[in-house]
Symmetry: C2
Subunit: 207 residues, 2 copies
DNA sequence: CCAATAAATGAACGGCGTTCACCGAACGGT
DNA sequence: ACCGTTCGGTGAACGCCGTTCATTTATTGG
């Protein structure tokens, strides 16, 4: 009949529109400023209408989390293709930091708000976006080890976790404890890379 | 006259009581669950009465931030007295992580909520508790350099910032993205220390 | 043109932070 | 001993919030 298809499409479009407007609000004023009533106002529907498309506010937040993380992943991917593992780590760090600084409110939402909101990203060891991007890092450290430039006694997974934690710490301290760090985030990230990369070859090279 | 003194003391005691009850609520249910009305209920006063002692909810949060940070500092201090800089860093990391895991809601409040709440801790380069404890780390890295066990080309301040960021990243990822990290926080912290400590002497030693 | 189905809504509930006019008790001066 | 003042304390209200549900409005298939 085609008419139910059209309805379904319109329904999906409205849902998408709601998400987009919500995304704008979060990026502009932060997740805390996202209210169902203001969102309803912005899309020109009654508040109750939102509940026809989302279970509740958290469901919208979860959707935004997924998209935010995908954006981050998209920024990491080019860096992950660099062949030299040392440079790859540098580029990954640079991209991660750039994302955090350019999209602070998105970063906050994904990594610093309620675990409930981002939980979906970090389970399913072999499906979710979280583990998938984490694997990029593990691979980088394995390649680094193959080149004899990493702590050999430590599992690559653990090095990757420390690396991610280091980057996350740099960004999130900047976002929450502004002015605590003196050095710019990119410089700290470079230092982080330098400490994780060891070995004989000229290891100090900034970009 | 002594009567105004008594009044002042009672006033201070009530204020203190309010802070303590608020602290309990935050530690038990998180900062998000701290509401002026529930707090008023818990101390058995009307909500409006709280405003005779605090400008607003944020003022209470700021007070809790200061105290939370002092608790953290108290846990760091013994570790800061260790003579050997390598062991000192280990102990500092261990203490920091322990605090974060034992007081997750306090940690969240101080380091992961609105910058407004913790701002007071991180300004006043030579007075605030933040810079003061940061100085502990800088000193540790200076001692480390003196022993020839740190990246000499990098300023101690920057190494300290990376160190703190690394610890913060480990804790805060655990708190927000539970299950993302496979390894326990203490193990990651050890690895972090190992990567920041270089040099000839037996550098791999876990505690 | 009507019955059925789906979309959208207004109004309400309970909770929130915050303000302010008001009350009662304790106080200092006489 | 009385009285005006001062001050800790409060009830009620304002404007927000998320969420629910009975009801209305629009759209569809017969």
């Amino acid at each position: 009949m085609g008419i139910t298809e059209r309805k379904e499409r319109q329904r999906a479009e409205l849902r998408e529109h709601i998400v987009q407007v919500a995304r704008d609000m979060v990026m502009k004023e932060g997740f805390g400023a996202l209210s169902m009533r203001k969102l309803a106002d912005a899309v020109e529907y009654a508040p109750a209408t939102l509940y026809l498309h989302f279970e509740n506010r958290d469901a919208i937040a979860r959707e935004l989390c997924v998209r935010g993380f995908q954006e981050l992943l998209a920024m990491l991917e080019p860096a992950a293709d660099v062949k030299d593992p040392v440079q790859r780590l540098s580029r990954l760090a640079e991209a991660y930091v750039a994302f955090g600084l350019e999209h602070p409110e998105t970063y906050r939402l994904v990594f610093m708000e309620d675990p409930k909101l981002s939980a979906a990203l970090f389970q399913d060891k072999h499906e979710g976006a979280g583990p998938k991007s984490f694997a990029l890092l593990v691979r980088a450290f394995e390649d680094l080890k193959a080149a004899g430039r990493a702590l050999d006694a430590t599992p690559s997974e653990q090095l990757a976790e420390v690396f991610w934690a280091g980057l996350h710490g740099i960004i999130s301290l900047k976002l929450t404890c502004a002015g605590f760090q003196g050095a710019p985030a990119q410089a700290l990230a470079e230092t982080l890379v330098a400490t994780l990369v060891h070995g004989p070859k000229s290891s100090r090279r900034s970009r």
